[in-house]
Subunit: 300 residues, 2 copies
């Protein structure tokens, strides 16, 4: 169900890492479905929400930032899964009728459509909570586990307040500052946390974690501009969800606040900044460069 | 807005601790409201949901378990606030139209009624997330911070799956096993975690933490039986919410599954068990005994 156009393929090394993550993720939710008490449809809904497409971009960023910092892919798995749990939670809740009211996600029924609203709300709650259980079980020293929890919790509060502002912004005229403030929290905060978690998993220095977070923030902003542009340009086949919905709902988007041409220029600027931010990491950051390039491609 | 009947007053020492907690809690959410970006009604809703009544029973259990284990009230504050965040999240989401559809809570409009559904969903999400940020900042060593996160996350997943089962059970005939399985997760899990967090905050032994968790589980089950009995017997003035709703919705409750007389006997049994479980702690557990007594009083 991945968008086929507007994306280049991953280099083989990254594709292999995504496949490894996907396999661990699928196994995890298979175990969840079969081990949780079956006196509701929640266990089934958890697996439905988690498994079924998704680019796995955020976990890939965790893993690549860990590797670029001298860590192993293994030690990055727990925080990678935690970030994807938070991302999945945010999709399930954002799609609810009271929020963005979407029937389609990744080319199939949203969780509240496939099940019901109560189950979708609870599935989101569960996924959000489980993210922190995963971090608490990460195979790093307790100090870094604790730092990971603090970083992901802080970013998730930002994601939530960004979504609140996103909905509140629907009734307002397009505004540049407001749009940027929403993008920073709704989207960039989780990319930033993903990059920082990768650094923490690798036990790199505080300064290096800060630099990685800066890179994550930049590609997060790039990602959201690209997403806004795609909503204007693409159709349902490319997106796996209806296009043109942002404008229809009056959302605060880059194209609405800045215009198409300036949005594309901003995307190029963020792309160049992201590549620059990787320079200190040298060849180890090849994977991260490929990620930045692929996100930039979506904006074209 | 506290229920005036069916409860004895707290002994002075406990009343003072509740007051201290309440003051720290209120200050915290005042700071949240004034420091969060004001581009949505979320900051206001967070404070509304958090501050405005509530018995603060779970944070009191954290604090008293910490003190009974030789710790200070100060070190218990972060986990006490975290537990109350999770409890508040669960109330806000359980009250939603898609779930229990309640208009009234603690004698005033539920959060989705005072604001709107999207804001209430996001306020619950934020409170749930912030609980883990609070634990990550607790003034204990990193190993115990991590153990606290694991314990609270596990309990919260139980609370969520218990709520899913509670809703799913509405369409089914009253069933004893099902009722107990729901109570264990929906209610007792968080009491158990509260007690265990208190022990962890005090840095007591693993065995002692286990014993405290057993006590927490017992008074959690007692609490839910009492709550079920109150819903049958009480009126809106006592509860701060409409009574008789459980039966009207066909919920799996103790009185429906076991009958009134047996429910009262079960409550007495759990009460006696809780008091017995405190024996090894001696006089240090006076506060915990008072808590068990007060919960038992609600069942009468």
């Amino acid at each position: 169900m991945q968008p086929a156009a507007h994306t280049r393929e991953w280099p083989a090394a990254l594709a292999a890492r995504v496949a490894t993550f996907e396999s661990a993720w699928n196994d995890y939710f298979q175990r969840v479905e079969s081990s949780e008490t079956r006196d509701s449809r929640l266990p089934e809904a958890l697996r439905y929400a988690a498994v079924g497409g998704g680019k796995r971009l955020r976990p890939l960023i965790v893993i690549e930032c860990c590797i670029a910092s001298g860590g192993s892919a293994d030690v990055a798995l727990a925080p990678a899964m935690a970030v994807e749990c938070v991302h999945t939670f945010s999709l399930v809740h954002d799609d609810l009728p009271a929020m963005d009211d979407d029937d389609l996600r990744r080319g199939r029924a949203t969780t509240h459509r496939a099940f019901d609203e109560a189950t979708a709300i609870l599935a989101g709650d569960w996924l959000l909570t489980r993210a922190f259980a995963m971090l608490a079980a990460a195979e790093v020293d307790a100090g870094r586990r604790s730092a990971m929890v603090a970083l992901l919790a802080s970013a998730t509060c930002d994601v939530i307040s960004g979504q609140a502002a996103d909905i509140a912004g629907e009734t307002l005229a397009p505004d540049r500052e407001r749009t940027i403030a929403i993008h920073r929290r709704k989207t960039a905060a989780l990319f930033e946390a993903a990059a920082g978690l990768g650094g923490l998993a690798a036990a790199t220095s505080e300064d290096a974690v800060e630099r990685l977070r800066g890179f994550g923030r930049t590609i997060g902003l790039l990602f959201q501009i690209a997403d806004d542009l795609l909503d204007v340009a693409a159709d349902v086949e490319i997106l796996g969800k209806p296009a043109g919905k942002d404008a229809a709902r009056g959302k605060q988007t880059y194209p609405r606040a800045f215009g198409l041409a300036e949005s594309r220029r901003e995307a190029d600027t963020f792309h160049a900044a992201a590549i620059r931010e990787l320079e200190p990491l040298g060849p180890a950051a090849a994977g991260l460069r490929a990620i930045a390039d692929r996100i930039a491609d979506r904006a074209r």
